[in-house]
């Protein structure tokens, strides 16, 4: 038996509720939540989809740390499990938080390949060596689960802060040998809500379930952004 203590929110008030879940070896926190929903209290609300750590739906605070519920084993944590919604996001219901702003920030950094010469009707193979691929590959692994954003101290006080995930996405394209749109992204990254607000708490890299190293991406993006601006000033 494991004891699940869950932080709930019904739209008006917030409260703790405790459930007893029969835990077997190998059972994940997500399976525990499903057990509760299907057998004890079906009003419990949480997001989940792929249950293999690739869709990014089920990030939540488990025993104080943001993790993917689907890949966190209950017995690995002991028989007392605390589950809370992510910090730095507005809670909608129980463990479900509002991701609208998070995705809007991702969109704001132009996270797509910018190239004038690609034609929709006649696509051409662009060459890229495995070494060039490795330059940015780790940053493509972001599943937008929000774990990084939830622990970022800058995101805690600044609502508009782009945050680690969005800036890692920006850097992922800046470092892609096929991309030609760096300058556009530097412009966004250099805003008041951008790279300057990172002070390297590095907690984002610590909690990232996919080891994307967003903190590193932000540093690299900041360096590129700063030098691009300085260069343009000096030329002027």
């Amino acid at each position: 038996m494991a004891e699940f203590k869950i932080r709930r929110f019904d739209g008006k008030k917030s409260f703790w509720q405790t459930f007893e879940v029969p835990a077997k070896k190998g059972m994940t926190v997500l399976e525990g939540l499903y057990y509760i929903k299907e057998n004890l209290d079906s009003s419990l609300a949480f997001r989940a989809s792929c249950r293999m750590g690739i869709c990014g739906s089920c990030a939540m605070k488990i025993n104080g740390k943001p993790r993917l519920a689907c890949e966190t084993q209950i017995l690995f944590l002991g028989d007392k499990i605390t589950v809370e919604p992510l910090d730095n996001f507005r809670v909608i219901k129980d463990l479900i938080t509002d991701f609208e702003g998070f995705f809007a920030k991702h969109k704001a950094v132009k996270p797509y390949l910018i190239r004038e010469d690609v034609k929709y009707e006649e696509p051409k193979e662009l060459l890229q060596t495995p070494e060039e691929l490795n330059e940015y590959y780790v940053f493509t692994l972001c599943i937008k689960c929000g774990a990084c954003y939830s622990v970022c101290p800058a995101a805690a006080t600044l609502d508009g802060y782009l945050g680690p995930a969005a800036m890692a996405a920006a850097y992922r394209f800046c470092a892609d040998s096929r991309d030609k749109g760096n300058e556009e992204r530097y412009e966004i990254a250099s805003s008041s809500n951008g790279v300057w607000r990172c002070h390297l708490a590095m907690e984002c890299s610590e909690v990232c379930p996919k080891n994307v190293e967003p903190a590193k991406a932000v540093q690299m993006l900041r360096r590129k952004t700063a030098f691009s601006i300085l260069k343009s000033i000096l030329r002027w």
């Binding site: 704001a108 600044l158 609502d159 508009g160 782009l162 530097y186 008041s192 300057w196 601006i229």
Partner: protein
């Protein structure tokens, strides 16, 4: 989102300077501390202080230290203030105010240095 005028010159310059002044401070502050506290507290006596301040190499060192410390300190304050919603809303005011504070601190110190 992030609509305000991008490519502000202050930010990258301030970022770089914060690091450079930080590095320099490690050297200068250690030196300053060494002189005043590590050898003997004799160095803190009024006559000693005045004498030191009248040596050109110390005068230059203190001026430089004063400059980098006050920049680092008030630029740091600026960075902290801009981490908040209220800060970013009043970005220009924060920038102006903290840089002004830096200048006030620096010139006040300079005035002390010169008048001694």
């Amino acid at each position: 989102m992030s609509s305000e005028s991008a490519k502000s010159v202050l930010e990258p310059v301030a970022w770089l300077l914060q690091m450079i002044t930080g590095l320099l401070m490690i050297v200068f502050v250690t030196l300053h501390f060494y002189v005043t506290h590590m050898v003997s507290h004799e160095a803190l006596h009024y006559q000693e202080v005045i004498a030191r301040l009248n040596m050109p190499e110390f005068k230059v060192m203190y001026t430089v230290l004063l400059l980098i410390v006050s920049f680092h300190a008030f630029n740091g304050l600026r960075a902290i203030a801009l981490d908040t919603n209220a800060g970013v809303r009043n970005r220009n005011a924060i920038n102006t105010l903290t840089m002004l504070m830096f200048l006030v601190a620096f010139f006040y110190g300079l005035y002390l240095l010169i008048s001694l």
